[in-house]
Symmetry: C2
């Protein structure tokens, strides 16, 4: 560690010009005589001057920093979206720094981080929340800076957002099962919160349309870890014989699959399984796991792009992007591609 901090004053003195001029060549914000510009640029180079973004932020009242709030950075899908967000934020035309907060699906933590981000004067915020409650929506609507919601279930028609149609995705999967003679469709989900509501709606709709009743007992809350789910599945499948499983969680889907195999239940002949996130694991397991695939990385890219537009006041006619989902058929279903 060394390096004495060198400031714009040093550059101005050394180059024999005023602060203002240095600032102008730095920001290309106004015409500067070519010779002076050269001088300044030379000095900057020689002194290895690096503008202080914090001072800059204060002076121009823009931090060129955006905040990102995610429920759990350790989730593979989240990491993948962050990847899209960061890549976009750092593109030449954008160049935003990103302050990332992972709130562990905890509402209080979410609120705290939200305040933290505002304190840090972010120019905009990207929010991912499994389900946008009224409270969260109100926070967003009262935000002093633009907010874009991504990969979140919501009923709002006004929020700027990019995600997929969760209800439709669950509908599609359930309908496939029902259309193929399965009455007893298990619905496994990890978070038994209101997030469930939007998704459950698709499940219920498919049942209604097919004229069959929904059995509430078939809506299962599963665990976080694979081991727990495996034990649970093994016990469950010993007494009950569902015909099909739709799971929001990859780990639960695979736990059920492995448990079934270990119990001698044939897949997909006796039990069909579809998972709601097409992670790398889905293709590595045997039999391959049929999954709903959606453009995770792209959702990150689009949400950052949308936020940028709004921050720049580019009147975007469209502030809502619903990405298409698709079912990737593998060996855990009778239909295979």
């Amino acid at each position: 560690m060394k390096n004495k901090k060198i400031t714009i004053y040093d550059v101005a003195r050394e180059a024999g010009v005023s602060l203002a001029t240095v600032s102008r060549v730095l920001n290309k914000s106004a015409k500067v005589a070519p010779e002076k510009e050269r001088m300044v640029l030379d000095v900057i180079e020689r002194l290895n001057y690096r503008p202080n973004e914090v001072a800059r932020g204060l002076a121009r009242k823009r931090s060129t920093t955006v905040g990102v709030l995610v429920p759990e950075i350790g989730r593979l899908s989240v990491a993948e979206m962050l990847s899209g967000i960061l890549d976009t934020a750092n593109m030449e035309m954008y160049k935003y720094s990103t302050l990332i907060k992972s709130y562990a699906s905890d509402l209080d933590l979410f609120k705290k981080y939200w305040e933290d981000l505002l304190s840090n004067q972010v120019d905009g915020i990207l929010v991912m929340f499994d389900y946008i409650t009224d409270e969260i929506q109100e926070m967003i609507e009262n935000s002093p800076v633009p907010v874009v919601v991504f990969a979140s279930a919501t009923d709002s028609e006004t929020l700027a957002r990019v995600s997929i149609d969760y209800e439709q995705a669950f509908y599609d999967v359930t309908k496939y099962f029902l259309d193929n003679g399965n009455d007893d469709v298990l619905f496994c989900t990890r978070n038994y919160t209101s997030a469930l509501e939007v998704q459950k709606r698709g499940y219920v709709r498919a049942f209604s349309e097919s004229g069959r009743p929904v059995n509430e007992e078939n809506i299962l809350r599963v665990y976080r870890s694979y081991e727990e789910n495996y034990e649970f599945a093994k016990e469950y499948l010993t007494t009950k014989k569902p015909q099909a499983i739709a799971s929001t969680s990859d780990s639960a889907a695979i736990a059920f699959m492995n448990a079934a195999l270990d119990l001698g239940i044939k897949i997909p002949e006796e039990l069909e399984i579809i998972s709601f996130s097409n992670t790398k694991t889905s293709q590595m397991v045997r039999p391959g796991l049929t999954s709903v695939s959606y453009p995770i990385y792209k959702i990150g890219v689009f949400s950052m792009r949308l936020l940028t537009k709004i921050m720049r006041n580019e009147t975007s006619d469209e502030n809502k992007f619903i990405e298409a989902h698709e079912i990737i058929w593998r060996q855990s279903t009778r239909k295979q591609k």
Copy 2:
């Protein structure tokens, strides 16, 4: 979006005190008369005042922000480490904001982001780099702010860092294979850079000790995607019959495993496989994949903690933490637990 920015001036005026007093109660930096303190606190509450961290950072010359440089945020292990870093950074006693940059394993991008972080006046930097070259090491040593290196291979004895002993891990795995009668040990790695050197050293050492020669052709560079690796493995295993595989990449290990199974090669009887990262997938596949496990989350926690100590000038007698690794034995090896 609404909310007119309210500043410390507004609070001072409203509470009938000076700026300085408000600042004191905000920072608890000096004694303030209890009644005045109450007043100020009340006004803050009522006005919903939120200190501007950017102005604060400028004034006190500390941003309470740290930078994090990772090769690829989308990698599950990276996400998990970030999880540990963020959790620690946000703990009451620390409270650092984190500026995260993912440089796509690109040296130029790394350098750019490095400068960006310094421009943003971070108080410290956490660096992950598959292998710390001399160039990187020099950047770190010349950094104006403290730097902690994590989960990176390096020969440096001076850098503050926390990681595992890569050489030893590769040695352990190779030795297991050699001790159990496998001469033909494939070594699969994704990045054929100097990172390889440190790891290869363990592989080579095990061979030397056992008095057997290393066959350079057994050092394989694999692909990024599972599909490519699967195709490659299938072709490879058709002509060659290795007895054991040590792979730095989970996806390659599983690709070889599935390809072998599809070719009728028995695992582990005819081919043993060990992977170098114990991801969730390792336990979900059948047969279970024996893997080297190391405390990923903990490495994040420790590195952030170490950085904090250095930033606070707490003379840490120890600036190097090497976490223990462990082999989790599953069904892809003859030894199973």
